[in-house]
């Protein structure tokens, strides 16, 4: 199994940390992982993206132009990365703020209204974990228990009390992901 994923959105949406949690979860189940962010001026508020690879084998290039899956969280990223999804691959996006929706017919397209769900749950900070839950419903490449173990390992002890909230957010994502266009 090899999953090559890009997560792209605004800085501050938790793009990089979502990727980190996926990578940590991969480690928890003895897989190889790589996490390669765009870095530079983007770090200071512009767009942010990260390429995450989870694989049973040694990972070659950590930098990719074609992806098995793309998680898209703003319009610029959709414009930039829609074409990079491998035919038959997955594009998951939050429609919040999107004016031009994905158009490809040769990929699977899903929506998660994470921004509004996060607002309903009363915490914008868990936005990315709702998205992550939606992704894991489509691509169950890591077990939820390993996500929780990864969180415990990667988060400082003082944040461990937030883990149940994050788990709720993941479940919220799992429940609310919507298929927009699915290949037969």
């Amino acid at each position: 199994m090899t999953e090559e994923l890009i997560i792209a959105g605004f800085g501050g949406q938790g793009v990089l940390s979502m990727g980190k949690i996926l990578a940590y979860s991969g480690i928890m189940q003895d897989q190889e992982v790589s996490w390669m962010p765009s870095y530079g001026p983007e770090m200071r508020g512009g767009t942010a993206n990260v390429t995450v690879i989870v694989s049973d084998e040694r990972i070659s290039s950590p930098i990719l132009t074609i992806f098995d899956s793309a998680i898209i969280l703003n319009q610029q990223s959709l414009d930039k990365f829609e074409s990079g999804v491998r035919p038959g691959g997955v594009l998951l996006y939050d429609p919040n703020g999107i004016t031009r929706h994905p158009e490809r017919k040769d990929i699977n397209i899903f929506q998660i209204e994470a921004a509004s769900l996060a607002a309903e749950m009363g915490s914008t900070k868990i936005f990315n974990m709702i998205v992550f839950g939606a992704y894991l419903k489509i691509k169950p490449i890591v077990k939820i228990e390993n996500v929780i173990r990864g969180l415990k390992k990667s988060l400082p002890e003082r944040y461990h009390k937030l883990i149940p909230l994050n788990e709720d957010a993941i479940n919220m994502g799992i429940k609310n992901v919507k298929a927009i266009h699915e290949l037969k």
């Binding site: 992982v33 390669m36 990972i59 132009t65």
Partner: protein
Amino acid sequence: MSELKLMKGNEALAEAAIRAGADAYFGYPITPQSEVIEYLMAEKPFDRTGMVVLQAESEIAAINMVYGAAGAGKKVMTSSSSPGISLKQEGISYIAGAELPCVYANVVRGGPGLGTIQPSQADYFQSTKGGGHGDYRQIVLAPASVQEMADFVKDGFELAFKYRIPVLILSDGVIGQMMEKVDLFDPIPRMTDAEIKEKYPWATTGKKSGTARRIITSLDLDSHKMEEHNIKLQAKYKTIAQHETRYELIDCDDAEYIFVAYGSSARIAQKAVKLARAKGIKAGLFRLITLFPFPSKQIHDMCGKGAKGFLAVEMSAGQMVEDVLLAVKGCSKVEHFGRYGGIVHTPEEVLEAMEQKIIGG
């Protein structure tokens, strides 16, 4: 006990310095390697092992602090990125001339000048052909993973002290910024002052009365003595070339078309090998681990094993390719492919270059 962690290359480098028993790190922030000193400051290595971390006023000061501490027999490290490494060249030349051990890392970004903060491999000439003034060499280790960012710090210190030579870990923005799983080696205790005095009699640790004083210098106004010193250095470099050349062959057993690459380009080329094999092209990867010493003989030997052509893949306008040409000595075709100025080539374009320049060319 070794420990499995998800870390950035820069963080792994910093953590490895603590674990390798380094006595000091002197640095100055620059993108894309600032995480090294940030990590070290946050980790409080002084509390963990007694290791000193100091943010210097410049890269120049930092490398000269390294010179001073190394001359006094301590295990010491610095790191920077391309423009900062240019500033350090004077100090590195002095360290090489005075035959001091140290490890330093360059997380390369695109140049020339202030250039860009994106990844590059355009400092190959600077790293392998001198950089500073004078006839000197340094051992250059090229990590291609976060794991190697950690491991090469430990290896680097061993080599540095074995040969009393600066060891450069030549990384780049990709390896520095990406996170991977890293199995951290067990911590090595820092040497005690008594051990240092016993093991490194050349170090300036205070002269016992009635004994000869130790002088750390790269100066000799007598040219004959300076020539002798140079001859000794060259002999040392030859010994290093004989014993310390490192490389990795990937899918090369039956390979006809060989990518030659190091660092993140090697990772990308490895993917290109996969893509090539899927198309029925017998491709392989010769990954350089030491850039100095350069595995010339081992590359040349590929000709006798059925290699029909070499593509040097590097994020530069063509630097390492010159050493590949010298190694191959005409026994096979050699071409270069690289993107530069901060652009990272894709596996697809690397394969396309092999098809067009070597197979079809």
